[in-house]
Symmetry: C2
Subunit: 742 residues, 2 copies
């Protein structure tokens, strides 16, 4: 008997030791949660995702189209059927569509661009010509321009430095840029800053066409006539409706005059296929491009200008169109005023099977499964808010207007925002607020990869190791922690994270789904099930991953934010900044010396036009002490708090509530209401889209971009601003610490 007792006791301890823990949960609650998660997994159904995708991508469903509204209503009905409190929230936004599109090469070998994606018999929806939006860049200016053409590579600032050295000025010219190297909206913006009067953007087959693989319909990649549509709204200034910055575009909102809307491009811009680009590029004379500028067309790429001029005429209908956001709530049983928000957009440029329907069907299935669990008695403490956003494609409009419209309520209630978008076969990728990194990694450890049976975290690690170079491997080896990327722009988190300071996460699978369908009529159901995620196995994996995040965040006893993880990431950014400044100084000195020693003039080929770079101002040493002191306090406070975090689940319930109230608002203290220099809408002091990169994030943007722009005074000022921001953050952490320890 005694032996049996001992064995039982041992088994009990083994069970306890083996019992899976969840961050922020008591052991007992964790066990229950994990049980529900298993039932949740069992509820998910690839057939649903398939069926819904067939409907939602059956017709073009851009903003203002009948199918856009029909889709919103379809989804609202689904949410209602799963017992969500559902509404369709509408906004009225500026959404230009093309009236005239003309592009021609004049001169001895005249050519008129087709600007047309042909119907393919292998792609059922590609023939819906009357419903499709033609290929265009939304928020291009109206214009009718005729000028010489210049090839500007990606059309980013560094390319114009090279052009200057080649003696090429784009003033009064039309430029042609390749897609890639930056978000597309940067290209016409920088072109206009340099005096160009028109901009063409084309998909080079090197990056997006036959060089990558066989083209559609034989393979997945962009065919010669495929065109990447897309917005060129100047989103790094502010996203959303250009006429209502900072407020919801309700029916009676006060609107700017269109001429005062600074996010509308100043020059006409048109995206074209590589078939249409070929004769234009062939017409160019001038110097041969630098090696890194070459594409995969079978020509010698020249910078231009060409002898023959190009004529570009664009006119748009500048209409106000309604948006339909679907907002579906499952009220929390204990903390209904703490919101766990989930979103994916539903509007597309054309049929958008991958972008965004693959994401939204995964979200729908996830919401349905949770609804099913709720019917079986699964209670969630906090309120779930499932959103299907409209108007993401033209400029993250639906989510931005909603967050602007509901900003006061969201500041109070929003705990967390989880975003997804297009999804396909492959590896998990995650970016977001770094307080969420341990929370996310715990989930990534619990979701199995459908193709290999190991966790999505293990598979991500395997992929990172195999694709890394030899040096990086040695550094990474054994560290399976998935480092969260930082969020710039590109999808619906902007209003939540960067305008309101709500901790956010963006998730998606990819890397094995192949494609060149992006923003073309070929982003279709037929393409998706052949090349992107046949069988929707990664749609299910995404539902599992995002669903766990929603349910754990909704049910945690203590909210799973790790402020010390934020500190550690930030410390890396601060080091990066100092290195950036030091390297800028070294390189400036080096380069100025080389200019002074005339090395550029001596090395140049005298038969070619070449301007040596100009001397740059010297780089001063900046005073980082405020920031260093703030970082030291942050390190201590977050380190101490996180040590005590484990004990917080044992606090009395009112203390837990008080603690949670601080924890989910700690991200708010990273908001500075004045916003970033020259773009007050972006208020987050740690993460912002780059002024000259667009989607690409700039961390510690106030300081980093000032250094990039060699504005030393502004860099110093922003060191001060960030330091005070971090002091506020530390204050919040200390308050949290007081609750845990008192």
């Amino acid at each position: 008997m005694k032996l049996l007792n001992l064995v039982l006791m041992l088994l009990f301890f083994v069970a306890i030791a083996n019992a899976q823990k969840i961050m922020g949960f008591t052991d007992a609650n964790a066990a229950k949660q994990i049980d529900w998660e298993k039932q949740f997994d069992a509820q998910l159904n690839a057939k649903n995702q398939d069926t819904w995708m067939q409907f939602l991508s059956s017709h073009p469903h851009h903003v203002g189209s009948p199918q856009d509204k029909a889709n919103a209503e379809f989804m609202a009905k689904l949410f209602q059927s799963w017992c969500y409190q559902t509404e369709i929230v509408s906004y009225y936004v500026l959404f230009p569509t093309p009236k005239t599109r003309l592009l021609e090469l004049l001169g001895s070998k005249p050519f008129k661009a087709k600007l047309e994606e042909p119907t393919l018999k292998e792609d059922k929806t590609s023939g819906q010509k009357t419903e499709q939006l033609p290929s265009y860049n939304a928020y291009s200016a109206d214009g009718d321009v005729t000028a010489e053409l210049v090839f500007v590579n990606h059309g980013i600032p560094a390319d114009y430095e090279e052009l200057e050295q080649m003696g090429i000025d784009v003033k009064g010219k039309i430029v042609i840029a390749k897609y890639g190297g930056s978000w597309r909206g940067i290209k016409p913006k920088v072109a206009a800053e340099h005096g160009a009067i028109g901009c063409l953007i084309y998909s080079d087959p090197e990056d997006d066409g036959y060089a990558r693989g066989d083209v559609y319909p034989e393979g997945a990649f962009r065919p010669k006539n495929g065109v990447q549509r897309g917005s060129v709204m100047d989103m790094p200034l502010y996203p959303g409706d250009p006429l209502t910055p900072g407020v919801g575009a309700t029916k009676d909102a006060k609107r700017l005059d269109r001429n005062d809307a600074i996010t509308i491009m100043k020059i006409p811009v048109l995206p074209i296929s590589y078939e249409d680009a070929l004769p234009l590029l062939q017409s160019l004379g001038g110097q041969v491009v630098p090696v890194s500028w070459r594409g995969a067309l079978p020509i010698t790429y020249h910078v231009g200008p060409g002898k023959d001029k190009v004529h570009l005429k664009l006119q748009f209908n500048w209409d106000i169109k309604p948006l339909y956001n679907v907002i579906a709530k499952l009220p929390g049983s204990e903390l209904p005023d703490e919101w766990i928000i989930r979103g994916n957009h539903h509007d597309a440029w054309v049929n958008g099977a991958d972008d965004p329907i693959s994401g939204i069907v995964s979200e729908l299935d996830e919401a349905r499964a949770i609804g099913e669990l709720a019917k079986k008695g699964f209670k969630l403490k906090r309120t779930l808010v499932y959103c299907a956003w409209d108007g993401e494609e033209p400029g993250v409009i639906g989510s931005t207007e909603w967050t602007e419209d509901h900003q006061n309520e969201l500041r109070k209630k929003a705990v967390f925002y989880l975003n997804t978008d297009a999804n396909s076969r492959g590896f998990i990728s995650a970016a977001g607020s770094h307080t969420l990194e341990p929370f996310f990694n715990e989930i990534a450890n619990d979701v199995m990869d459908p193709q290999t049976g190991v966790s999505i975290k293990e598979r991500k690690y395997a992929s990172d190791m195999v694709t890394a170079d030899k040096t990086a491997r040695v550094k990474m080896s054994g560290n399976k922690n998935i480092k969260l990327g930082a969020l710039g722009a590109g999808s619906d988190w902007s209003g939540f994270l960067q305008f309101l300071g709500i901790a956010s996460l963006n998730l998606g699978f990819g890397g094995e789904g192949q494609g060149g369908e992006y923003h073309s009529i070929y982003d279709s159901y037929d393409h998706f099930i052949k090349f992107k995620d046949p069988g929707f196995q990664y749609g299910i994996a995404l539902s599992k991953t995002a669903g766990r995040a929603m349910m754990r965040m909704a049910n945690a006893d203590v909210l799973p934010f790790d402020v010390n993880s934020f500190y550690k990431t930030l410390a890396g950014y601060v080091t990066e900044l100092k290195t950036l400044l030091d390297n800028t100084r070294t390189e400036t000195d080096q380069e100025n010396n080389m200019i002074r020693d005339k090395l550029y003039d001596l090395a140049k080929d005298p038969t070619k036009t070449y301007q040596a770079p100009k001397m740059k101002d010297e780089v001063p040493y900046l005073n980082f002490s405020d920031l260093e002191n703030a970082m030291e306090q942050l390190k201590n406070s977050t380190g101490e708090f996180q040590k005590q975090y484990g004990s917080a689940t044992r606090l009395p319930i009112d203390k837990q509530m008080e603690l949670n109230g601080i924890l989910y608002k700690v991200e708010r203290s990273l908001i500075n209401e004045k916003g970033l220099p020259r773009r007050p809408w972006y208020k987050h002091q740690i993460y912002a889209p780059g002024y000259y990169t667009g989607y690409g994030v700039k961390t510690l943007p106030g300081i980093r971009e000032a250094i990039d722009q060699r504005n030393w005074k502004e860099a110093q000022e922003n060191i001060g601003i960030v330091s005070r921001t971090l002091e506020n953050y530390t204050q919040q952490v200390r308050q949290a610490m007081n609750i845990v320890t008192r």
Copy 2:
């Protein structure tokens, strides 16, 4: 008066201080030498170079052609007219030429390759069809094979590792490889090692065609039908006539049976144009190639095999042909048995205006100018030997046979060999024995760049700085010393340096002359004067540079070898080797761990065929102590000697002669008569062409290649061999030291 005296004295000292010094010359002799050099420069004449090029490239002049012999006789007459003792030295060597060339794609879309470079009206000599050698690879096997085709990228060993991971075996297949990534002869050799039965090599427009610039005749680059001829003799085993390794191919030399000549390729090989390659590559199925394998043809590159087979039929005339080396001597006035040797080949694949005529006309003008000085009373202590080699293109044959034939005399008399080959506009580039580095730098400081007016050394530094990346710049900044490259294979130094241990230097200008004419019918006078070196200003610059080297070496009081410079370079190589071994160990461990952890299997796309790499044997630690001890002795002895070197010009003449006798033979002590593993012809222990890179050098080849091949026992043995070699070297240096100090 006193003041005047003082002023005169001061001026005298200033003059002495400013008097230019030359390494190895007394101040007085240096002043005279510099005076002669000025007269030498004034003698050089671009018109000569132009006129001679017009004649020498007027007809195809490959081995065995009438113009080949006519050119030799033309040059011999020139040398005679400049008072050189001139002879034409003939050898009789195996030189295959095509009898049958057939390449066709069978199956549903049959295609027969043109294998023809068209006549261009803009290129006067391109129409000499009956005289041109057709496009082929010399020393290909005869063969008639029909098989599936596989694309193997550059066809080097690393590419076959990737193919294995893709599940592709080339056994029994024909492979198609891009030019580039190695010397061409490596491609069929490695293909045959992997069981392929035929090999095609094509020029991809990415590296050699329209991607680089406008094609000929509009621009300089390779047109779609242009083909790179060239030898595929297995020169890393031994260069020269395949039938007479190690001995001169005189009329009655003992010859191997052709079947026993191991440098003849085992499979048929044919070079083709990118126009001919296109349908073949398009016919390939299978996986899409890795990104780094892509070329610039407007297709998706697939690995293959294709459904349709390829038929390749090649037959050659295996004739013995005579070679005509021109050997012209200007006997030394004091030391006629110390030879300063200069060479450039004269044979071409077709008209060869650039390769090699640009080099040989510069050499001729240099020889003429020296002849003119001699007539005016300029005396050279040592004998100059000017050579114009035949048979370089098929396998460095003319020079190899001559050095083999005269090996005993050369071992005694040869002080130095200076090689040049094709030359064009741009920057000086130099490689050779590292004892010659200070000698060469002194010259590079004294020759002015024709386009900028600064020294060629200054301009080279400017170019290196401007093209370097930011990290490299910081390292290089301020150090204008031109680091000599190490010599592998590729031109006529092999017999001198690697077979006999004669200190050698290879010089040439380039980098601004553009072209895709290499080894095609378009390497013509018309191409050259438009794109390579209009006005022959760099032909003159090369004459100035090489002429100074010849005259200074011929007249030095103490020969300008710097053994400490050799030590310093060698110390870098030894460090490289240790790092190579350590990195190989780290990477092997890393990779084996990754294989053991199944990371490759987890990361792979399950829809694609993929074999994880195989585990490799562990890398042992090797005993470097012998080598380290030998290096320490070398450091001390060469350091001490070079400190005393400056005083050697004050030695009595007999001591100087004794010292010089040691100095020019010190390179001989780097020869090991047994040669390198598996290739006894290559005897130099420091420099050799890579067994699997061809032209590309491998320094400390016995050790390095054993590590590359993971043959640890052989690596250890070769550490011993090199150590003993260096001990011998140190002995020589100590003897030299004794002469200087006793």
